[in-house]
C-alpha cells in the first residue's frame, strides 16, 4: 500500500513535472538563442490553452484541429510580438528586457481576462476520464498522455538541434550571435524561430495543464513554477530544464503528501522555491548549468 501510494504520487508528479518542463523548455530555447529571459512564457502557455478552448467551443472544431489551429495562431502572435516588442530591445541591459517581457505578461493576462473573463471553464480534453489500473496503481490517462507527449517532444528537440540545418544554426546563434551573423546565418530568423518554437511548446504545456484540471487565468501563476525548474536545472541547459521540471513536479507532490502536516498546507506550492533556494546555495549555476569564465 505504502509503495503504491509512492508510485501514484510520483506518476502524478511526473505529469505535472512534464508540464513545468515544457514551459521551462520554452524559457531555455528563447534564452539560448537570444539571451532574453521571457517572463511571459507562462502567459503564452495560458493563451495557447485558451485559444484551443476557443476553437473548440466557438468554431466547434474537433480537438486535434483546434489544437493545430491554436498552434498556428500562437506562432503568428509570438512572431509578431517578437518583431514588434522584443527585437527593438536586443542588446539593451538584461533588466529592461526582462521587464518588457513582464509587461508583456501583464498585457496577455489582461487580454485573456478581457476576452474570456475570470471564470473557470471545463477544458474539453480528448482524454478518457476513467483511470487505467496497472499493477494496482490507478493512473489518469491525461497524465499518461502528458508524460508521453513530453518525452516525444524532447526526443524531437534533441534530434532537431543535433541534425537539422535550422537546429544547427540556432545552436550556432546561441553560441555566438555576431559570429553566426557573419557566417551568413539569418540571425533575425533564428530569433523569431526560437520565440515561435517556445510558444508552440508552451501551448502544448497549456493544453495539458488545462486537461489535468480546468481552464482559468490563475494557470499562469502555476506556470510560474517553471522558473525554479529552469534555474534548478541550469539556465542554459535543455536537458537541465526538463529534469528540473520533473524533479520539481515530483518533489512538490511528495511534499504535499508527506510534509504538509508539518510545514503547512501550502507546502507543495512553495516546494519548488525552497528547492531552488537550497540548490542556489550549493551550486549557484544550477545542477546542469555551466559556470561562466569571466574576462576583462
Amino acid at each position: 500500500m505504502a509503495s503504491n501510494i509512492l508510485i501514484q504520487l510520483t506518476i502524478t508528479g511526473l505529469a505535472w513535472g512534464s508540464v513545468y518542463a515544457c514551459i521551462a523548455l520554452g524559457f531555455v530555447l528563447i534564452f539560448k538563442a537570444t539571451d532574453i529571459f521571457n517572463f511571459a512564457q507562462p502567459e503564452l502557455m495560458m493563451l495557447g490553452a485558451y485559444l484551443t478552448f476557443a476553437f473548440i467551443t466557438v468554431l466547434k472544431l474537433p480537438f486535434i484541429w483546434a489544437f493545430l489551429a491554436a498552434l498556428v495562431l500562437m506562432a503568428l502572435i509570438t512572431a509578431l510580438l517578437e518583431m514588434l516588442v522584443v527585437r527593438p530591445l536586443v542588446g539593451e541591459p538584461v533588466l529592461s528586457v526582462i521587464m518588457v517581457t513582464l509587461g508583456l505578461a501583464n498585457v496577455i493576462r489582461g487580454m485573456t481576462g478581457l476576452v474570456w473573463g475570470y471564470e473557470e471553464y471545463q477544458f474539453p480534453a480528448p482524454f478518457p476520464k476513467d483511470p487505467l489500473t496497472i499493477f494496482g496503481v490507478a493512473i489518469n490517462q491525461a497524465e499518461i498522455y502528458t508524460i508521453v507527449a513530453t518525452v516525444i517532444l524532447l526526443v524531437g528537440f534533441f534530434l532537431f538541434f543535433k541534425y537539422s540545418q535550422s537546429g544547427i544554426s540556432m545552436r550556432a546563434t546561441a553560441e555566438d550571435t555576431s559570429a553566426a551573423f557573419l557566417m551568413g546565418i539569418n540571425v533575425k530568423g533564428v530569433f523569431t524561430a526560437s520565440w515561435v518554437i517556445a510558444s508552440l511548446v508552451a501551448t502544448v504545456a497549456g493544453v495539458f495543464m488545462a486537461s489535468l484540471t480546468y481552464l482559468d487565468p490563475i494557470m499562469s501563476h502555476t506556470g510560474l513554477k517553471a522558473l525554479p525548474a529552469l534555474i534548478l536545472g541550469g539556465l542554459d541547459s535543455v536537458h537541465g530544464a526538463i529534469l528540473g521540471g520533473l524533479i520539481i513536479g515530483v518533489a512538490e507532490n511528495l511534499a504535499g503528501f508527506y510534509l504538509a502536516d508539518y510545514l503547512g498546507s501550502g507546502i507543495n506550492e512553495i516546494t519548488a522555491y525552497v528547492l531552488v533556494l537550497i540548490i542556489m546555495m550549493i551550486r549557484p549555476y544550477g545542477l546542469f548549468g555551466t559556470k561562466e569564465i569571466e574576462r576583462v
Binding site: K129, Y214, L254, N268
Partner: protein, 400 residues
C-alpha cells in the same frame, strides 16, 4: 518678499475652500431630500470578479425595483461602486473613498474575507453601517459589532451539520470523516465546527487543507484515501471541488462527498457525472423550486437584460438582505439616520423572503443566517435537490 506674500495668499485661499467644504453640513451623511447614497466596493477585476459582476447586477435590479416603486419615502437610491480587485489595500482605499469623498450613507453587499477583514477596524471607528458582508469569517459576527451585518452560511455550522447528517440521518457505522478545505479562515471555521462535532460523536477528523490557487489536489486526495476516509466535506470554490472529485475518481477513492454552500454552484458539474448523488449544505432557496422569491428575481433580472446571471444559485445571498434593508429603511420613516436604520434592521423579525432562505438579525445577533438544508446533486439536470427541511446544527456555534 513678493514670493512669500503669494505663498501666504495661496495658503489662505486653500483654507477658505477647506472651510467651505467642511461647512456644508447635512442632517445625515449621504441622505438628501430626494436621494439616499449607497456605496459598495466590488471585485470587478480580480480573482473574484464573477462575484463582483453578480453583486453589481443584483444591486442594479434591486435599486431599479425600489426606485420604480417611488423609492424610500420619496428618496431615490443611488449607488457608487468602487473596484477593489479583491485586494486588501485597494479595499481600504475604496472604503475611505466611499466614506470620505463620496460620503455615502452606508455600504451594501460586500464579500470576501480578505477585503472585509481589512476594513474591520475602520467600520468601528467611522460608524458606517456595512450591510451585509458575505465573508466566510467568524470574526465578522463573533463578537457582534453594531455596524457590521453578516449574511452567509457559517463554516462551523456546516461542519456540525455534516456530522449531524452522517451520524443521524445516514446512520453511518463507524464512518471515517475527512475535511478537504481551503486553508484560510473560511476552511478553518469548518474545521472548528467539525472538531466540535467530533467531540460529540466521538470521531477523529482527517484534515487535508490546500492553499488557495492550488491546481493539483493529488496529494490531498491521496492523503484522505490513505486514511480510509468514507465521508468527506469539501470547503472551497466549486471548480476546485470538481477537481477534487476528478482526482478522487482517478485514484479510485469513492467516499460520500459533502460540498459546502459555495459549491452549490453549476461549476460543480464540471466534474460531470462524478458529482452526481453527492451532498451539499445550503442555506438558500433554489431556483428550480420555483418559489415566489425566485420568481421575482427572475423577472427583475430578465427586465434588466441580465438573464445570463440567473443560473447563479448564490443570488439570494445578496438579494435577501436587500429585501430586508428596503423594509428597514421604510420603517425608519422620513428621518433616516444610520443609528435608526440599525435599530430598524434589528427589530425586523420573521422576515419573509419568499422561500429564498431565512434572514433575521437581533440586537446582539449579527449573523443573519441560521438555517440550512442538506441538498443532493443531480448531475443529469445540473441541479441540487433538497433532501431535508431547514435545520439548525445540533451544537451552538461559538468563538474560537
Amino acid at each position: 518678499m513678493k514670493k512669500l506674500r503669494t505663498l501666504v495668499g495661496i495658503v489662505m485661499i486653500c483654507f477658505v475652500f477647506g472651510a467651505l467644504g467642511a461647512g456644508i453640513a447635512r442632517a445625515e451623511v449621504g441622505v438628501t431630500k430626494d436621494t439616499i447614497l449607497l456605496g459598495t466596493f466590488q471585485d470587478l477585476s480580480g480573482p473574484a470578479a464573477y462575484l463582483g459582476k453578480l453583486a453589481t447586477g443584483v444591486l442594479q435590479v434591486w435599486m431599479k425595483d425600489v426606485n420604480d416603486k417611488g423609492g424610500i419615502h420619496g428618496r431615490k437610491l443611488k449607488l457608487v461602486v468602487e473596484d477593489n480587485k479583491y485586494d486588501p489595500v485597494l479595499t481600504k482605499t475604496a472604503f475611505t473613498k466611499l466614506v470620505d469623498q463620496h460620503k455615502v450613507f452606508m455600504i451594501v453587499s460586500v464579500y470576501g474575507s480578505t477585503p472585509c477583514t481589512a476594513i474591520m477596524p475602520d467600520i468601528q471607528a467611522k460608524k458606517i453601517p456595512v450591510y451585509t458582508t458575505a465573508a466566510a469569517v467568524q470574526t465578522m459576527f463573533d463578537p457582534p459589532q453594531r455596524y457590521l451585518f453578516w449574511y452567509a452560511c457559517n463554516g462551523q455550522d456546516q461542519g456540525i451539520l455534516m456530522a449531524d447528517y452522517v451520524f443521524k440521518d445516514l446512520k453511518a457505522r463507524d464512518p471515517k470523516i475527512g475535511l478537504c478545505y481551503q486553508d484560510d479562515e473560511w476552511g478553518k471555521d469548518a474545521l472548528d465546527g467539525m472538531e466540535m462535532a467530533a467531540k460529540k460523536y466521538g470521531f477523529k477528523v482527517v484534515e487535508a487543507p490546500y492553499k488557495r490557487g492550488t491546481k493539483n489536489l493529488n496529494a490531498q486526495a491521496m492523503k484522505l484515501k490513505a486514511e480510509g476516509v468514507t465521508h468527506c466535506l469539501f470547503v472551497g470554490y466549486a471548480p476546485v471541488y470538481a477537481a477534487l472529485l476528478m482526482e478522487a475518481n482517478k485514484i479510485g477513492w469513492k467516499p460520500v462527498f459533502f460540498g459546502d454552500y459555495v459549491s452549490v454552484d453549476p461549476k460543480t458539474f464540471m466534474a460531470g457525472d462524478l458529482a452526481n448523488g453527492h451532498y451539499h449544505i445550503g442555506n438558500l432557496g433554489l431556483r428550480h423550486e420555483g418559489g415566489p422569491g425566485w420568481k421575482k428575481i427572475e423577472k427583475g433580472f430578465t427586465e434588466a437584460g441580465l438573464e445570463s446571471m440567473l443560473n447563479e444559485p448564490l443570488i439570494p445571498v445578496l438579494w435577501n438582505p436587500l429585501l430586508l434593508l428596503t423594509k428597514a429603511m421604510k420603517d425608519c420613516g422620513k428621518n433616516l439616520t444610520r443609528e435608526r436604520l440599525i435599530n430598524a434592521i434589528e427589530k425586523t423579525k420573521n422576515f419573509d423572503t419568499g422561500g429564498l432562505g431565512k434572514i433575521e438579525f437581533g440586537p446582539n445577533m449579527r449573523k443573519g443566517a441560521h438555517y440550512c438544508r442538506i441538498l443532493r446533486a443531480d448531475a443529469s439536470k445540473k441541479i441540487f435537490v433538497p433532501v431535508t427541511g431547514w435545520r439548525q446544527p445540533s451544537l451552538v456555534w461559538g468563538k474560537r
